[in-house]
Symmetry: C2
Subunit: 314 residues, 2 copies
C-alpha cells in the first residue's frame, strides 16, 4: 500500500551514489536529480545507497545532504534517507526532549508500529543517543502523561490474532465505568490500552460499542480541549485504524493557518512505504480534493516536488 514508484530496472547502489555525488558537485545543487533518485527507491535500496556512498566517497550521505540542502526540503530528505527505525528514533528524541502534552509523535511511534518495529526503534535510540527512550520520556514527561507514555513506548504487545471475548467484555465494562466517572487517567485504563494486543483491544472496543451504545472515542471526547483525552483518542485510533488517524493529521496540518510542515513531512516520510495509498484515498473521500493537489496548494519548490514524488500523482 505504498505510493512509491520504483523504476523497472534500478541502477546499482554505487551508480546511484555516484549520481548523487554529481548532484552535489559544481555550481549549486541539482535537487531534481536528488529527488529523481532518492524519491524512487525503497528503504532497503536507500540503505544500500547510503552504504555505497560511504564506501566510495568516505563520507556519510546524510552529512553530504545536510550540507547541500536547506529548510523543509532538507528535513524531509534527511528523514526519508534514514532507516525507518532510525527515523522514528530521531522523531522520538526530538519529541521527548521538547515534550509537551499536545505532541502526538511518541503516541504515533508507540501505537502505529508493530511490536518488532517499535523494539527496533528502541535499539536504534540506544545506538544513536546512548540512552533509552523510556529514560528520556520518563525524565521529561510528567504526571499522567508519563504514566501513559512510558508503558506505551515500552510495551511489546502480543501480535497474534487470538482474542479472549470474555476478557474483551469485562474490560469494556471497566473502561466504560472509568470513563463514566471521568477517571481518564485511571490505572486500569492505562493498563488495558498499553498492554493488550491490538486484536484484543479491537474486540474490547467493539464490545464497548455494542454494550454501551457509543464508540469509545466518542465517549473520550467529553472535553475536546483536554489534551489527555486527545492522547487517549490518538492511541485508540492509531491502534484501530492508523490510515484514518494519519489522514486527519495531514488534513489538519495542511488546513492550518500556515501549514504545519513538520507534521506533513512526518506523515509522508513515515507512511509513504506503509499505507499512504489508503491515506490518500481517505483524504480524497473526506476532503473532495486529491491529496497531491492539496500539497501543491500549500507547499512549494523542491519541498513540494519531493512530497509529490513520495505520495504519487492524483
Amino acid at each position: 500500500m505504498s505510493t512509491l514508484t520504483i523504476p523497472e530496472s534500478v541502477p546499482a547502489a554505487f551508480e546511484d551514489a555516484e549520481q548523487l555525488r554529481k548532484a552535489f558537485s559544481g555550481w549549486g545543487t541539482n535537487e531534481g536529480l536528488i529527488i529523481s533518485i532518492l524519491g524512487h527507491r525503497t528503504a532497503a535500496q536507500r540503505r544500500q545507497i547510503r552504504q555505497a556512498y560511504s564506501d566510495v566517497f568516505g563520507e556519510d550521505l546524510l552529512k553530504a545532504l545536510d550540507k547541500e540542502l536547506t529548510h523543509d526540503f532538507e528535513k524531509a530528505v534527511l528523514l526519508w534517507v534514514l532507516d525507518p527505525a532510525e527515523r522514528d528514533a530521531v522523531l522520538a528524541y526530538d519529541s521527548a526532549r521538547r515534550w509537551g502534552p499536545g505532541d502526538p509523535v511518541l503516541i504515533e511511534i508507540a501505537s502505529a508500529r508493530s511490536s518488532e518495529e517499535l523494539f527496533a526503534v528502541r535499539r536504534a535510540y540506544h545506538a544513536r543517543y546512548k540512552r533509552s527512550i523510556e529514560e528520556d520520556v520518563a525524565f521529561h514527561a510528567k504526571g499522567d502523561f508519563r504514566r501513559l507514555l512510558v508503558p506505551l513506548l515500552t510495551a511489546h504487545r502480543y501480535e497474534g490474532s487470538e482474542v479472549n471475548l470474555r476478557l474483551a467484555n469485562s474490560e469494556a465494562k471497566v473502561l466504560h465505568e472509568k470513563i463514566g466517572d471521568k477517571a481518564f487517567a485511571d490505572d486500569e485504563i492505562i493498563r488495558i490500552l498499553t498492554t493488550r494486543s491490538k486484536a484484543q483491544l479491537l474486540a474490547t472496543f467493539n464490545a464497548y460499542h455494542n454494550d454501551f451504545g457509543n464508540p469509545i472515542n466518542k465517549d473520550l471526547k467529553s472535553d475536546p480541549k483536554d489534551e489527555f483525552l486527545s492522547a487517549l483518542r490518538a492511541i485508540t485510533k492509531c491502534i484501530t485504524c492508523p490510515e484514518k488517524y494519519f489522514e486527519k493529521t495531514i488534513r489538519l496540518a495542511l488546513n492550518k493557518m500556515g501549514t504545519d510542515e513538520g507534521a506533513v513531512t512526518r506523515v509522508i516520510t513515515t507512511r509513504a512505504e506503509v499505507d499512504m495509498k489508503p491515506i490518500k484515498e481517505l483524504y480524497y473521500k473526506r476532503n473532495s480534493v486529491p491529496l497531491p493537489r492539496a500539497i501543491k496548494k500549500d507547499t512549494g519548490g523542491h519541498y513540494e516536488d519531493f512530497l509529490l514524488t513520495l505520495v504519487g500523482e492524483d
Copy 2:
C-alpha cells in the same frame, strides 16, 4: 564463571539423544545416565540435543523427561533443558500467575539479565503463552507493585558504560529525599530505578553513599518486614552485585526450616552457566561451609546428584 564441566570431546547431539532414549527405555529410568549427559552440556549443546531428539524420535525431549522423572529432580531437569530465555519465560509466567508481594522471581528476571536477554524472555513469553509478560503482570500485580514491576520488566536499559556524574549526584539527592520522607513508592524512585542504565545507577548509588553516609540499601531497610522495601533492595542488589544477591537467596533457601527447593533449583539452573563460580566463593566466605556440602546436607537422591553436577565439587 560457569561451574559446568564439559567433557573434552563432546559426542554428537544425535548420539546424546540416543543415549537419553536408552536411559528412558526398559525397566525403570537410568537417572544417572541422564545426569551424566545433560549435566555436562552447555545451553547451546542442550538445544542441539533437544533438536536431535525431536528429529530422530519424533518427540519433544521435554515431554519424554516429563514422563520419566518426578518431583524436584524432574522440575530441575526440565528447567535446565530449556533455553535460558524460555526458562525465564516459564519462571516469569508461574510467578505472574500466582503473584504475591514477597515473590522475587520477576525482579530477578528483570534486573539480573542484560537488556537483550530480557527482551529475548519477552519474545519467548509471546511464543509460549500467546500474551505479553507485561499484560499478565499488570493484570495480576496491584498498586505500587504493579507500578514498579511493569516498567522494570519492560525496560530496555542502555548498556553502555557512559555515565553522567552530574545526573548521578542530582538523582542520588532525589532518592535520598524520597527515602527520607518514606515515600518509597514515589514516581521518581520508580523512574530512576527502572529506566537508568546499570552503569548510571551504580554511579548514583555511589554518590548516594558518599553524599549521605549510608549505602542506599541500608536506608531502604527501615522496616525489614515491608515487602515493597524488600523489592527495592532486591532490585538494587540484582543491579549492583547479582552474585551477592543469589548467594543470599540460596543461603536462605537452604537454611529454611524445610528447604525451599523451588528457590534452590531456580538459582542453580539460572546461574550455573552465568556466575555460579563467584556465588560459590561468596557462599563459602559467608557460611564457612562449601555450597556443595550444604546442598548435600539438605537434599537427596537424583535431585542432589543433579544439583551437585551443576555446581561442581567443593
